[in-house]
Amino acid sequence: MGVMPLQEAIARHVRDGHSVALEGFTHLIPFAAGHEIIRQGRRNLHLIRMTPDLIYDQMIGMGCAAQLTFSWGGNPGVGSLHRLREAIEHGWPAPLQIHEHTHAELGAAYAAGAAGLPCGLLHHYAPTDLDLAGGPHTLVCPFTGQRLRAVRAVNPAVTILHAQLADEQGNVLIRGIVGAAREAALAARCVLVTVEALVPRLDAAPNALVLPHWLISAVSVARGGAHPSYAAGCYERDNRFYLQWDEISRDREHFASWMREHVVDCPDHSATLRRLGVSA
């Protein structure tokens, strides 16, 4: 583990063609890290996330992705992800190969990856058209004869999380809604974490959700790094931005100029937040 600037962490660990999971369910979405990947111009990534959310809409629209593994691809509480739709519906800016799951399946796939298993188990349910999209296989329980659904483990090359705190050793504390972030990290070959702050000691509660430093390749401080998502105890979700995104992202040109102004031409996330007018 090393504490290093986010630019260096991304430059060192995220390569073109990698499978990359930026996890965090609604909460603690690593926007700062995603923006840095965009700035560094990564290509042909296999993006993995339960809910692509705005961050993958941005990365897909900026041409970072060749594949997407996901389970729900909307703008939460708002509607469509227009850049994701354009990629799937019109192959713009590049064709996007999708691997589609249900939440339960992708959760089980991360959990299997975290446990070092090649597959996870779920109850079988009769085929819907999702099965035609490829994916689960049927297994039979050797004890009961019950049919079960096996899902292939997901083991990202790199998982990136945002968290509230890390200590000087690099142990990471996550507070609040965690989604499948923990499983995605444990499943990965390389884990990068951005945090709101570094502190000498975490002083975590018993049974708190802490990731040990030796599982983590790099910790980088990125204050406000989850905005427009949120970091419980630090700042709230910018629901207004999620609504605005519907407008910004509808049109290719509008999207591109917005990204240029607010991400590409900003040296880092602090600059992005200042340009957005949400921090001084």
Binding site: E89, A104, G107, Y230
Partner: protein
């Protein structure tokens, strides 16, 4: 809408809330289901247990969440658990009494499409996809569907089957052996459809005040059957409307302040 009146969203929300018995464990989605559950909590079902797929179990938000993972849900929850555990320990383990679903398309047997309009490989409209719906559809003891009714959404043939209702009907779901019983009601902006006991086909069971059977038929993309007795539902009680509007006003106020990061 007059002050004494109410709109279709309110009638849908109140109708959905009325379906919930006190103490039931509900797997809740954002939007009308969330409003209905939180209304029920504030009226006849104070012991309702709300689970959101973000891992917030037994949550009692003070205002309605705008996303499935708002901080409000975590702060007021009995416990916050990883998402894979919500689906494994609660839904798959059979601990959810009522699941709410919605979709872009529904067919006469309550099967749902939330994936694509047009062919899967070349969709005309790519929808958000499945999320938690397929497992809610199979595992919740019963399912309530909330959807506005139109011939575009109540269709003779789904473009894609994302989540099962009664499959091809006439007991097909029972034979498939899912843990849950399937959709108990489809609550629309015109009334309520329920599955017929023999065929499993959805039929019009109740109308909102002032809505005609013909209006519902016109909003349905298949020849809609009508139950032998169609009740006309009571309009929302004043107490329900007050509770719902108070909740919505508090929600609007809570979400109106612009976000500032003090970094």
């Amino acid at each position: 809408m007059s002050a004494a009146g109410y709109n279709a969203d309110e009638m849908m929300t109140v109708t959905a809330a009325r379906q919930l018995r006190d103490g039931a464990v509900c797997f809740v989605g954002i939007g009308l289901p969330s409003a209905a559950c939180n209304l029920a909590l504030r009226t006849h079902a104070p012991r309702l247990v709300l689970i959101y797929e973000s891992g917030t179990v037994g949550t009692r938000p003070r205002v309605l969440p705008l996303s499935i993972g708002d901080g409000e849900l975590a702060e007021t929850a009995t416990c916050v658990i990883p998402l894979p555990e919500v689906f494994a320990h609660y839904l798959q383990r059979g601990r959810v009494d009522v699941g709410f679903l919605s979709a872009a398309q529904i067919d006469r047997f309550g099967n749902l499409n939330s994936t694509v309009i047009g062919p899967y490989a070349q969709p005309r409209v790519r929808l958000p996809g499945s999320g938690g719906a397929p497992e809610i559809a199979t595992h919740a003891r019963e399912v309530l569907i909330i959807m506005k009714q139109s011939p575009r959404s109540f269709v003779a043939q789904l473009d894609f089957m994302t989540s099962v209702g009664y499959l091809a009907g006439a007991g097909a779901r029972g034979r498939a052996g899912f843990p849950g019983r399937g959709p108990r009601a489809v609550i629309t902006d015109l009334g309520v459809l329920r599955p017929a006991s023999d065929s499993d086909e959805l039929e019009l069971a109740a109308l909102y005040p002032g809505v005609t059977v013909d209006a519902v038929r016109a909003a349905t993309g298949w020849p809609l059957r009508v139950a032998r007795e169609v009740t006309v539902l009571e309009p929302p009680a004043a107490a329900d409307l007050t509770a719902l509007r108070t909740l919505q006003a508090a929600t609007a106020q809570a979400h109106a302040a612009p976000v500032r990061l003090n970094l």
